[in-house]
Symmetry: C2
Subunit: 422 residues, 2 copies
């Protein structure tokens, strides 16, 4: 995906970046009503342009017959998917505006009044793969947060992205906002991605959306700070005091509700004290639902449906109906396993013992830790944030779901009456 | 400062990093009383070891006779400076513990209770130059925030840093905390710095402290996220409705209180409407205090004490008794100048017009914006944060003073009663 920059790619990205900077200065002062109007107008424009958009998508699909079925499914749009994209614009329009909110304020003994005020994060570069809906969702979230966006989608979706972007821009223009608030890199030249990663004076943050290899390469190469969304190798730990019915329901949901999402559970850890009581029925239920089960020796002893797990299984994000299972000696053993193999995304404990829960929640170093709930709640919408660009697994700035609020930063506003420092 | 990594430097830094990870896991659960006890014991140990520390410093000073006077002054310790370092340990010990604080909490309609809880940022790499006090201050701030620190000071201060670090570690050990909570890179080999910048799995954040060239190279080379503290090319803008006495006091303080700090003003912008009323006396006062004045044509017309400014002056952080002065047409002109030449650190407006102040504070995109107060208040202590590692000028995570709270991140802690996702 990322190639060396070419002589042409740097001037192209710099000209997009300079336009984005100007647009962002304007956006940072735009009232919420204007941003909302733009998003609603974009939704209307999107519906009105559905024939053109679907035609562009059909052309992309026709040109991508050599791609795999999963990739082609991600690329594909129909009326229903397009309507969902338009509806997401309306949902984002209705979110509260985070800009200008006072996060904290206090007065110093010398009378200086200090406010920490929320401001847009700046110019965001989004690098993504084939899902055309990201063009609209990411652009809309950035706009709502007062950020300018430079979108670089997959080359296989370029016709679709262009058609979607044109509708979005018409919404901006109708509301009187600068068209450069959300720009699409207009070329399939992969060097453009490399160029984006070098322009730290014009792009404030890069958010990569896509597979592991894309994100790893962006992280390795970027001179611009990256908000990373890495893999979710998530665990459910059934503690000795787990309620059997809750345990069964949570594990089945965490693994099987949707297996391709980053909040899906990949490894089940079960306390040896309750393995006999819970595992046979759990294994049977998961097997019936089509889940492949890979266990250590202790787990295999409970059922012939379990095949042997290898060391590699503990570190694998399957994103598929496969579950790794391991019997652990207790809470410390479970926490140590998660520390060693987890990806700091989302991990859950099932227990009726509040002290064990508190210990797990404090010691497991993941963006999201849950007690008696499914890992599939790892989602900005489920957290009440309305929409998200993804789940950040880094430690700086944002952790967990990245919604409009996480696309802001702050400044200190200080009011004095002539104070000077001694 | 930063050289290529050598075959030896990577294993050294990895072994420090692995020890730091283990220590940090312990620290993240340590109660405030234990961290406080360690810091107080370190202050006691520092005072008890003052003879050894001053002897080590004398050896560093003797070995650095070829360095410039400014660098040698930074390196130098005496009883008084050592006592200030010990007192800063006690001050940091007394700060409130940020870890475990609940930043926000809410309950979703499905009954899930979501808390955003403050946790330590992790393992922090501090790369600094000759000031030995950073060894103690940075280590203490990290410890209070539950972070492990890997300190890499200037090679010219290595004997002093080792002696200070030994006292700090004895405080850790007395309080029962792991010695690896705060480690000093034990070699003057510059390749160690390059090695630190590559170990993103073991070091969570790099904080460089020092001159522009060090920071720029760290930013350019680091694979680990950097909390940057860049230059403060700070402006004071005297608006048409500025109070003349406040204006005079603020400009003199902002420029001359201490000229070598990052919050010092470097450029004065003055509204043409009040230039005649304010400039002659202001220029005379600054000149009497030993400040060199460099102005545009309009400023020069007010006084023969002003020498011509060049384009370069607008972008220069002097850190010296030199002030650039420019007459502007009004608020928009002042804001445009700051946007073009400023460094997004600290900028102030002096005016009795609240609407003009609000406009300036909203539109100037700097970490700290002030109304009727000196830019020299840009300091964690003056903000009530107790102590700071520096003033962050980046947009991600922390902006403005970086104190103990800014050395934390958060996790989401979710309590359910068996919820699964639909």
């Amino acid at each position: 995906m990322i190639d060396q920059t070419t002589p042409d790619s740097i001037p192209l990205i710099r000209s997009l970046g300079q336009a984005a900077r100007q647009a962002q200065a304007y956006l940072s002062m735009a009232p919420d009503s204007q941003k909302t109007a733009a998003l609603l107008a974009a939704a209307t424009a999107l519906r009105a342009a559905s024939a053109e958009i679907l035609a562009a998508n059909a052309a992309d699909m026709a040109a991508s017959v050599d791609l795999g079925a999963a990739l082609r499914d991600r690329l594909f749009l129909d009326e229903k998917r397009l309507e969902a994209i338009a509806a997401s614009l309306e949902m984002i329009a209705a979110l509260p505006d985070p800009v200008g909110g006072i996060i904290a304020e206090w007065t110093q003994p010398n009378g200086l009044h200090i406010q920490r005020v929320r401001v847009p994060l700046g110019v965001i570069g989004i690098i993504y793969e084939s899902r055309p809906n990201v063009t609209i969702d990411a652009g809309a979230l950035c706009l709502k947060a007062g950020c300018a966006a430079i979108l670089r989608g997959g080359s296989e979706a370029l016709r679709t992205s262009r058609a979607l972007h044109a509708a979005f821009v018409s919404g901006l223009v109708i509301a009187g906002l600068p068209a450069a608030a959300v720009q699409l890199v207009p070329t399939a030249d992969r060097a453009a991605v490399g160029a984006m990663l070098t322009q730290a004076d014009l792009i404030d943050v890069i958010i990569p959306r896509g597979g592991k290899s894309l994100i790893a390469r962006v992280q390795a190469d970027s001179r611009v700070p990256v908000l990373a969304h890495l893999d979710g190798n998530n665990h459910v730990y059934l503690h000795a005091a787990a309620h059997p019915e809750k345990a069964l329901a949570i594990v089945v949901n965490a693994k099987m509700r949707r297996t391709g999402v980053c909040g899906a559970a990949e490894t089940l850890l079960i306390d040896q004290a309750i393995a006999g009581k819970i595992l046979p029925r759990l294994i049977e239920t998961l097997h019936e639902k089509g889940c492949e089960l890979r266990g250590d020796d202790a787990v295999q002893a409970f059922s012939p449906l379990v095949i042997p797990a290898t060391l590699e299984d503990w570190g694998t994000e399957y994103l598929a109906p496969i579950l790794a299972l391991k019997v652990v000696a207790g809470l410390d053993d479970a926490i140590a396993h998660i520390a060693r193999y987890g990806s700091h995304h989302t991990d859950a404990i099932v227990t009726e013992d509040p002290a064990a829960a508190a210990d797990f929640l404090a010691r497991v170093d993941s963006a999201i830790v849950l007690h008696n709930a499914s890992t599939q709640f790892a989602d900005g919408g489920e957290f009440g944030m309305g929409a998200e660009i993804g789940i950040a697994t880094g430690r700086l700035h944002a952790r967990g779901p990245v919604g409009v609020e996480q696309l802001t930063t702050f400044k200190y506003v200080v009011h004095g009456t002539g104070q000077v420092r001694k």
